[in-house]
C-alpha cells in the first residue's frame, strides 16, 4: 500500500502511446486499396444513376466496356444536351460501334464469351439517345448489356 502511494506520487500520468498509430492507418490504407478501384475516366459528364432493386453484379471488370451518357459538367462550353462519353472523350452515336468493336478486341480471349457493355446513363436523360446507342450495340453484335444502377433505398 505504501509502495503504491509512493509510486503514484512520483510519476505523472503517462502519455498515450502513439507507436501503433501508423499501423492502424496502414491497415485503413490497405483496406481502401483493396475495396476501391482507380477512377478510370474523368468526370466530364454529370451522371446520377437511377435506382433499382433487381440488381446483378458484373462478374469481371476485364470483360466490360463502359458507355456513359449524361449532360456535360461544363455546360457553358458544351451545352446542356445529353452527350455520349467513350473513354475520356465526348463522342457521337456513330463512334459507338467502333468503340465496342475495339473494346471487344482488347478483352482477353478467355473472357470474350461474357463481354458486357455497361451503360451508365443519367436518370434525367431521355430515351432517344439511349435507343440510338442500343441500336448501334445491336449492329456491333454486343448484345449483353447492363444498365448501371444503384441499390434502391427502401422507403417505408
Amino acid at each position: 500500500m505504501s509502495r503504491f502511494s509512493k509510486d503514484s506520487g512520483k510519476k505523472e500520468t503517462p502519455a498515450i502511446s502513439t507507436a501503433s498509430l501508423p499501423d492502424i492507418i496502414f491497415m485503413l490504407l490497405f483496406f481502401f486499396m483493396v475495396v476501391t478501384v482507380m477512377r478510370e475516366t474523368n468526370p466530364i459528364l454529370k451522371i446520377k444513376l437511377p435506382q433499382a432493386t433487381e440488381l446483378s453484379k458484373i462478374e469481371l471488370k476485364e470483360s466490360v466496356a463502359y458507355i456513359l451518357i449524361g449532360t456535360p459538367t461544363d455546360v457553358n462550353t458544351f451545352g446542356s444536351a445529353p452527350r455520349i462519353q467513350l473513354n475520356d472523350q465526348y463522342a457521337e452515336v456513330e463512334n459507338v460501334k467502333a468503340f465496342v468493336k475495339q473494346s471487344y478486341a482488347e478483352v482477353p480471349d478467355a473472357y470474350k464469351g461474357i463481354f458486357t457493355v455497361s451503360l451508365k446513363v443519367d436518370e434525367e436523360v431521355t430515351m432517344g439517345i439511349v435507343t440510338d446507342v442500343k441500336q448501334e450495340l445491336r449492329k456491333a453484335d454486343a448484345l449483353k448489356i447492363i444498365y448501371a444502377a444503384n441499390k434502391k433505398v427502401e422507403q417505408n
Binding site: I25, L29, L55, R138
Partner: protein, 200 residues
Amino acid sequence: MARSKTKGAKEIDASSMADIAFLLLIFFLVTTTIDQDKGIIHKLPAWSEEPPPDDVRINDKNLLEILVNANNQLLVEQEYMELDELKDIVIKHLDNRGKLPNFSESPQEAVISLKNDRGTNYGTYIEIQNSLKAAYAEVRDKYALTLTNGSMNYREIDECSDNEDLDSAKRNSCDDLKKKVQEEYPMKISEAEPVNLGGN
C-alpha cells in the same frame, strides 16, 4: 542502465510515419471509387436488316401492352396506370392461367410488349424494367419454392447452379431446377423501337 541506452544505436523517429500513412490514405480516398458496378442485365435482340415479319400474330389475350409517353405516363392495356401498380399487373398477367378473359392463358404464352417514346425519361424506363424483372423474380420464386418444398427460392437455385465449389451432382440438380422454372415462366419481353409521339 541509462548509460547503455544512450550509447546504443539511436532509434529512428517513427512519429511522422502516421502522417505519411495518412497522406497515402487520403490520396487513395481521392483517386479511387468504391466498386459499384451493379445494374440490370438486359439482352438485346440480334440486329437484322430485314423488316420484322408481319404475320406474327399473338393472341391479344397473351399480350400485355405497355406504352410510355414523353411525360413518363403509363398506358397498360389501354388504361392509365401508376408506376407502382405495374409489378402487380404483370404478376396477374403471368399467373392468370386463363382465369380472367383479358390476361394470358398460360405463363408460357404470356408476352409483354413495351413501347416507349424517345422523350421518355431514362429513370422511368429503368423503373419499368425493374418492375418487370421484379415481377418475373416473384413468380419464379414462388414456383421454385413449391418445386423444392420451400427450401430454395429462384435466386438461391441460380447461385447454386453457378457455384463451382459445389460438387457436380448438386450443381446439376440445381441446373435442372433452374431450367424447369425458366420453362414454366419464360421471360418474353418484346421491346418495340421507340417512336416519336411528340413532346420532344
